[in-house]
């Protein structure tokens, strides 16, 4: 009901996104069709919910008054093909993370839909998988959870350890003791051990050092070759330019540009005055 209200404010046609052009020669892997995402947040301030007022609200069947709706993605459509590495850029609050979460199926669409081939995996900023377990346990359990057999897990183990490149000894410490960079590296290494149809990376590589960035770029290229698609959200535009073959620029929940990295990044830097 409330969602419908938020959708009513029509998107003016002049700012509508560029038309989606379908390339019939390539195989699509993600189709985002007129996607709208609306979610509710509890904004602070005002009467900060003491017990009595909370009870009265329940009695009167009212929603929390501070509840606001955020229309984060406003009608996004695009088609991603197998082998694409797509960078998603935009200012803070432009809906990048929300879009990725929606592709991963972690946010319900208020309108429109996301279609994918296979199950997307989202690597976010929160670095640990199982905080209380050691790095080596995380590797084994992560691989098993992704559906690898115990033999495959054993075979991949060394590769993951090497890729994550942790300080010696850390593999036997709980992941809660890792620095954010170390945690992100290990998590990415685990997720990359399996071929994913769609891999969504939300700033997960931002905390890595230069050496790791180089290796993760190589890994992303490898994943692309395995005919999946990779989405990358990063504030560091260099990473996007080096890794992606296509860039989507989101502005206030709408696609402002979608195309070749050099052109989109140039327009973006011009517009944001960097």
């Amino acid at each position: 009901m409330a969602v419908a209200k938020a959708l009513k404010e029509k998107v003016p046609l002049a700012t509508a996104q560029p038309e989606v052009v379908i390339d019939p020669d390539r195989e699509p892997i993600v189709v985002v069709d007129g996607l709208h995402i609306v979610y509710r947040v509890y904004s602070g301030g005002g009467n900060k919910g003491n017990a009595v007022s909370a009870l009265m609200r329940i009695v009167r069947r009212q929603n929390r008054p501070q509840m606001k709706e955020v229309h984060a993605v406003k009608g996004v459509s695009f088609v991603a093909y197998r082998g694409d590495a797509i960078g998603v850029i935009g200012t803070n609050g432009s809906g990048k993370s929300t879009l990725l979460k929606a592709i991963a199926g972690l946010l319900p669409a208020a309108k429109g839909a996301v279609y994918t081939d296979g199950q997307p995996s989202l690597l976010g900023v929160n670095a640990a998988l199982m905080r209380d377990l050691t790095g080596s346990r995380n590797i084994i359990l992560g691989c098993l959870a992704m559906g690898l057999s115990p033999e495959e897990t054993k075979a991949k183990y060394e590769e993951i350890v090497k890729f994550a490149d942790l300080k010696p000894g850390f593999i036997d410490y709980p992941m809660s003791t890792y620095s954010s960079g170390m945690g992100a590296r290990l998590r990415f290494a685990i997720a990359a051990a399996r071929t994913h149809d769609v891999l969504l990376i939300d700033e997960a590589l931002a905390t890595g050092d230069a050496k790791f960035k180089r290796r993760s770029r190589a890994k992303i290229n490898e994943l692309r070759k395995d005919a999946g698609a990779v989405f990358l959200v990063a504030h560091n535009l260099d990473v996007i330019e080096e890794t992606c073959n296509r860039v989507i620029w989101l502005d206030d929940g709408r696609i402002k540009m979608d195309g070749d990295p050099t052109e989109v990044l140039k327009a973006y830097t011009d517009a944001t005055g960097k």
Binding site: A16, P18, V21
Partner: protein, 326 residues
């Protein structure tokens, strides 16, 4: 269905828009949903079919077992005694209940070998109680894992119950020692322990799956759960003989309440284990209380196990695509 947002305005694309040269005329008008369907794409994170889901879950059995072992090891890794606590915790529990109900409140009247009676009750009930409590947190405590990797979410409640099963197996060794030390002799009835605990395991997985879904979307359940499990503990005949209370209730004209007490799954599994591991004493206790020999226990146990497991699994599976959202 039209998608006005997708049409570019005829005369004026926003400045800076790159329109790739259309490589195929006429295809632009195809709706994206149709296009996706034609290439076999499905809605993102849609729930798999039940059969595929069960297969995927079966494929994760090593994950489930390893997850449980790793979590158990991690739970005790901070303490000095380490996994010795797995033995100590049930013993201390039993000691506390013995102090209160055996010595202070003397519930032991008319019960043969009250020590074994009580400890059996505590250990068996703890298995169900802890499965329920762990199940409630199984999804909400693993959001990071759920969001990053794709696997059937039911693996988590399963793993937590397996964790409790591993604890139970240790408790059962302790129990066997206690039972023999208090004068029971191992008999063939001990073999009935295995089907009894297997049924309880099924039941526990079922309730754990159901509460996992509730706990995933309503955090409040974790505040409420201690009261539920405590009430359940006090009505399940851990400290007293259920048959005694049933008789007392019948005399006061509340026969129906007695039937509920008897059919209560908590009590059913406890009594099955008592009937197996301390058969002679338990039957003697029943005879002394003037109660009938237990005939319905296995029926209740099978029905509870099946209803809980099938119902719980179905209930959990129905929300599969929604775990980890938000």
């Amino acid at each position: 269905m039209s998608h006005p947002e997708r049409l570019s305005s005829a005369g004026g694309d926003p400045a800076g828009t790159i329109t790739e040269p259309p490589r195929s005329n006429g295809m632009g008008s195809v709706s994206l949903a149709e296009f996706a369907a034609r290439h076999g794409l499905t809605r993102s994170a849609a729930r798999p079919r039940l059969r595929a889901y069960v297969q995927e879950l079966w494929q994760r059995r090593t994950f489930i077992w390893n997850f449980a072992s790793a979590k158990t090891a991690a739970t005790y890794s901070g303490s000095r005694l380490g996994q010795v606590w797995q033995v100590l915790t049930p013993l201390l529990n039993a000691g506390v209940y013995f102090l209160i109900f055996g010595l202070l409140l003397s519930q032991s009247k008319g019960i043969e070998n009250y020590t074994a009676f009580l400890i059996t009750g505590v250990f068996v009930f703890t298995f169900s109680q802890r499965s329920l409590t762990a199940g409630a947190k199984s999804v909400s405590n693993n959001l990071s894992l759920i969001r990053a990797l794709h696997f059937p979410r039911a693996a988590l409640p399963f793993a937590y119950v397996i964790m409790e099963l591993q604890q139970l197996l240790i408790s059962m060794v302790v129990l066997a020692v206690v039972v023999v030390a208090t004068g029971e002799m191992p008999t063939w009835h001990w073999l009935l322990l295995f089907p009894a605990l297997a049924l309880q395991l099924l039941f526990n997985v079922g309730i754990s799956l159901a509460i996992a879904r509730v706990g995933a979307f309503t955090r409040d359940i974790q505040q409420l759960l201690p009261f539920i499990t405590r009430t359940w503990l006090y009505v399940s005949g851990v400290f007293f003989l259920v048959a005694d209370k049933v008789k007392a209730l019948e005399e006061r004209g509340h026969g129906w309440l007695g039937h509920i007490l008897e059919a209560n799954p908590g009590a059913v599994f406890i009594e099955l284990v008592r009937d197996s591991i301390m058969h002679e004493s338990y039957r003697a206790t029943l005879a002394k209380a003037g109660a009938a020999q237990p005939t319905m226990l296995w029926v209740y146990a099978v029905v509870w196990a099946l209803v809980a497991f099938v119902g719980g699994f179905w209930y959990f599976y129905r929300a599969e695509e929604r775990y980890g959202r938000g």
